[in-house]
């Protein structure tokens, strides 16, 4: 909103055309499976959307006096690519920016709508005729401001055309330069990028499932999590904007800590509209700091982005709620080292004895963390905790199975489109990890519940006329299984069945929670053996009382739980430390110094036979 151009014409004078046009944030939404682009719904989408419009003042008063509109004289707006929308306003040249305060009336075709929800109209190639009411307001009330928003990039001008008897008698081109925020990504790991619209099923964020705000993000969409390249301790990110090549090199990007530009962060865009920015973590910033990325045109050609040359851009969530400017959340080198040490200390700590440290017993959680830290089963990984097999599985960070659980697109050698082969480790039924799952309340409670709700009535009916001592399997074929139902904790769009594993209350950070946390039950089957018995129910000191009862004498339970082992930086504490390592692993491009924090899939095949209901 900084650049004005005046285009003189022999008969008309048009001013106040904003020379650079931001296409709405909604333009970015176009790639999303959720939400409709702002520009496509024919209305202004709220106060924040107004920032995506710019005012154009049509100084036609004099002309309208000499050539008033009539049945044969028409005033039209045309744009060859149909790349623009506009909104009528009652604004004057003097208060052309009044729309930013979102007035409650004066907008739209009848000039009665609020600015934030006014009707927009597309400017098409054949032209849209300006209304008699609007032209009259220009002539009589010194109005004449329209608001324009971009629908797509274009290098074709917006034209004001005056036709008489169907022939053009004059036209004024208004060149608007469209700049669209494209993406911001970690230079060495393009998969780690803004804006990542992949829906996330991540409960972190304070409002339960669904992530931050009401959107399904896992982390705010305007944050790009980075650690510095260990080679030179610099953050390295690439900004991409959509801009005609002939203009691109006039633009620059820089990182800001608050409103202060970080020294050395200022870089020019190339002709392809890309700018690789690099900067060090300023000494004045905290261990973890936010660096806002701003772009703008170097209008005075002094080789840097000056105050007043930047054009802030706001990223919105799927509900169009503004989240803030594109921001790198950086972790400085010393914090990375501290995080590494912190994870080392957890792995080296003893979590096998209750009361030894914090009362937590985390023998498996510690080993799963070790596997994440080391990226492989290392020599110091105890045999009894090792996975029994491993294989590689394809993974797509943006669209694939489990993409909804990966908060940060790092921790693997992703290619530019976000695909990678990751390791899936399997713990078979003989492992202690399988035993941990098999005996967790999340597996055993449903076994009991299913017996009560389903098997017990069937058994009661079955044994009604059978003598004591009879027994039977349920299902009747003793080698088949019931499918044990589990309640899906995630929204319906997440593959079934999400369950949070947790065993000890009130200490929620127990081994099964630390090992799996939220996992996915792929299958859970069971069968029961029931026997009709005489059970002694005599009261103490009372007469003998033998009662016929159905007793469960065996329960066979087996199934598979699967999970993606990764971390969310926003959880803080040890989870944040682990996430920092994951973010540092990136594409593996940081060499030996960033070889920790590799995501993997864990698959636990549990199986247990009980001598009664668990």
């Amino acid at each position: 909103m900084r650049y004005f151009i005046g285009l003189a014409h022999s008969t008309i004078f048009v001013i106040a055309c904003l020379f650079w046009l931001k296409l709405g944030a909604a333009r970015v939404y176009a790639a999303s499976s959720t939400g409709t682009p702002d520009y496509a719904d024919s209305v202004v989408n709220g106060t924040d959307d107004l920032k995506d419009f710019f005012p154009v003042f049509l100084d036609l008063k004099q002309l309208l006096t000499t050539l008033p509109p009539s049945g044969s004289v028409k005033y039209k707006l045309k744009q060859e690519d149909a790349a623009l929308n506009f909104v009528y306003t009652n604004l004057t040249r003097a208060n052309a920016y009044g729309y930013l305060s979102a007035p409650s009336t004066g907008f739209g075709p009848a000039f009665t709508q609020p600015a934030a929800s006014a009707i927009t109209q597309q400017i098409v190639a054949e032209g849209i005729e300006l209304s008699a009411d609007f032209l009259s307001r220009i002539k009589d009330q010194d109005q004449g401001v329209i608001l324009v928003e971009g629908r797509q990039l274009t290098d074709k001008p917006l034209k004001l055309v005056i036709e008489k008897d169907g022939s053009i008698i004059t036209e004024v081109p208004l060149y608007v330069l469209g700049m669209r925020w494209g993406r911001l990504w970690e230079t060495k790991n393009k998969a780690n990028q803004l804006v990542n619209r992949t829906p996330k099923d991540d409960p972190w964020g304070g409002d339960g499932y669904g992530g931050y705000g009401t959107a399904q993000n896992g982390a705010p969409l305007n944050l790009l999590f980075l650690v510095p390249d260990p080679q030179d301790s610099k953050y390295k990110a690439t900004v991409e904007i959509g801009i005609p090549a002939s203009f691109a090199t006039g633009f620059r990007a820089a990182a800001y800590l608050g409103n202060d530009k970080i020294a050395g962060s200022d870089h020019a865009f190339d002709a392809q509209g890309r700018c690789e920015i690099e900067f060090e973590h300023p000494a004045s910033a905290g261990d973890i700091a936010d660096f806002v990325i701003r772009t703008g045109r170097d209008s005075n050609s002094n080789g840097q982005l000056d105050a007043g040359e930047t054009d802030p851009y706001t990223i919105k969530d799927q509900t169009k709620k503004p989240l803030g400017e594109p921001t790198i959340r950086g972790t400085k080198v010393s914090k990375y080292s501290a995080a590494k040490q912190s994870i080392d200390n957890i792995v080296d700590g003893d979590w096998t004895s209750p009361g030894w440290a914090t009362g937590l017993v985390l023998p498996h959680a510690k080993r799963f963390l070790q596997l994440f830290r080391d990226g492989s089963v290392s020599a110091s990984f105890p045999q009894d905790k090792r996975p029994t097999s491993s294989t590689t599985v394809p993974f797509d960070a943006f669209n694939g199975y489990f993409a909804e659980w990966l908060t940060h697109n790092s921790g693997a050698q992703f290619d530019d489109v976000g695909t990678v082969a990751i390791t899936e480790y399997t713990w078979g039924p003989l492992t202690s990890a399988a035993d941990l799952i098999a005996t967790s309340p999340q597996i055993e409670d449903p076994l009991r519940a299913f017996y009560s709700s389903t098997v017990s009535p069937l058994a009661t009916s079955y044994f009604v006329s059978l003598p004591v001592g009879s027994s039977a399997y349920f299902p009747a074929n003793p080698e088949d299984f019931y499918d044990i139902p589990h309640t899906q904790e995630s929204p319906a769009w997440v593959p079934a069945t999400t369950v949070t594993f947790d065993s000890l209350l009130p200490n929620i950070i127990d081994d099964v929670n630390g090992t799996i946390g939220r996992g996915r039950i792929l299958s859970h089957q069971a069968r029961y053996r029931v026997e009709k018995r005489l059970v002694d129910r005599s009261a103490p000191e009372g007469p003998p009382l033998l009662v016929e009862e159905l007793v469960v004498t065996e329960v066979f339970s087996q199934g598979t739980v699967i999970d993606l082992y990764d971390f969310n930086h926003l959880t803080g504490g040890a989870g944040q430390d682990a996430a920092i390592l994951q973010i540092g692993f990136g594409k593996g491009a940081y060499g030996g110094e960033r070889n920790r924090g590799k995501i993997y899939r864990d698959r636990i095949e549990f199986r247990n036979t009980y001598t009664g209901l668990p």
């Binding site: 200390n345 440290a357 029994t388 003989l430 089957q525 070889n595 036979t609």
Partner: protein, 387 residues
């Protein structure tokens, strides 16, 4: 007095000369062993150890050579390590040879040789000795499993081989001795795996705390500092706990890790999953007598079952077919055969140890991997994963 001093001096020089002779002799012996490795492979080498009465030298870690060994010991230590690395490379070659051998007497002979070599390596408590012995054992386990999978090969011979695969040197006691010897200090005092892990972990944490005292607060706040094992030996040997990071040893084969520091492996123990899988396969074959391909159901059973599944579905109850609950028909067949065997042996399977209840899972994994040529020793598997 003068005469006495002269006598002492002569004795000292004589001793030095003797020591020099003994060092030279040991170096020559080790060199001869190293050369012998290049000759006739594992078989030829074993023949020479036997005919020459060669005992394996003590092979310390590279870290020991650099931090603990006395100057006069270094020459022999280095030579022993050179020999050890040469043997590690020879074993890598042997792995490929083993994979090519058919599961018959030739594989049996090769497996026996590896078990012999494993015992020879472990005859002296040493860091390198233990890893070499483990490597041999791992390769032998693959041989045993493959022989077991061949129903034409006598099971008794497989059992004999398996009987040699739980040697005493795998014990925590032996590992403790090796660790203390290599550290040059009595750091570990209790031959209990969990306690040894606590000591190793405590030493690592103490090392980091010394390097970065600001960590104390973090350790305190997370409860990690509480209960750390402390001792003079730990405090005086903090460098001992600084094992090479796993990421710097990819793939983590014996050859690649030979010059690195991996004492943590001795702390957690050198037991092998390959042996457990081979053991399960032998037990399965012994009890079942075959490796079933598909679950065993009669036409009548299948017909009845489908009827019941349909009836249950009409009541809103979902029943899974037995074989659908497993990864493959063969996995289901193994599970069914084992379950039927267990039920023939006991009235309530739930009373059996869980490892025994679910043995079919390990047996199936072993058999399936053998069929797919995927039952590999650790190093070969690690190399394959890296490709």
């Amino acid at each position: 007095m003068k005469t006495f001093l002269q006598i002492l001096a002569v004795a000292f020089y004589a001793q030095c000369a003797l020591a020099q002779d003994s060092t030279t002799a040991e170096l020559n012996r080790i060199t001869a062993m190293t050369v012998a490795l290049d000759g006739g492979g594992i078989a030829g080498f074993l023949d020479q150890t036997s005919s020459g009465g060669w005992k394996i030298p003590h092979i310390p870690s590279q870290w020991h050579v650099e931090h603990v060994a006395k100057p006069e010991e270094k020459q022999i230590d280095v030579a022993a390590r050179v020999f050890g690395k040469a043997l590690a490379k020879r074993l890598a070659d042997e792995s490929a040879t083993m994979q090519r051998l058919p599961a018959d007497d030739s594989l049996y002979t090769a497996t026996v040789r590896l078990l012999d070599l494993s015992e020879w390596c472990a005859a002296v408590d040493g860091y390198g000795n233990a890893f070499l012995a483990q490597r041999c054992l791992d390769l032998a386990a693959v041989g045993v499993a493959r022989l077991t999978a061949n129903l034409d090969f006598p099971l008794e011979q497989c059992e004999v081989l398996l009987g040699r695969m739980q040697p005493a040197w795998l014990s925590a006691e032996t590992n403790l001795r090796i660790l203390n010897k290599d550290a040059g200090a009595v750091i570990f005092t209790t031959a209990d795996r969990e306690e040894m892990e606590r000591v190793m972990g405590s030493g690592n944490i103490a090392r980091r705390m010394k390097a970065n005292p600001t960590l104390n607060a973090d350790l305190e706040s997370r409860g990690i500092a509480k209960g750390l094992r402390r001792s003079k030996a730990i405090d005086e040997n903090l460098a001992f706990f600084d094992d090479t990071e796993a990421g710097q040893m990819r793939p983590p084969t014996l050859v690649n890790t030979w010059d690195k520091k991996t004492h943590g492996a001795l702390v957690v123990g050198l037991e092998l999953q390959s042996i457990e899988k081979a053991r399960a396969l032998i037990e399965f074959r012994k009890k079942i007598g075959a490796f079933p391909e598909k679950p065993d159901f009669s036409e009548e059973q299948i017909s009845m079952r489908e009827k019941r599944i349909a009836e249950s579905a009409s009541q809103g109850i979902k029943i899974s077919r037995f074989e659908d609950a497993y990864r493959s028909p063969m996995a289901a067949a193994f599970a069914q055969a084992w379950r039927r065997y267990l039920e023939s042996e006991t009235s309530n399977v739930g009373n059996l140890p869980r490892q025994h209840q679910n043995l079919d899972a390990a047996a199936f994994q072993a058999y399936d991997e053998i069929r797919r040529h995927a039952f590999l020793d650790h190093d070969s598997a690690a190399e394959q994963q890296t490709k």
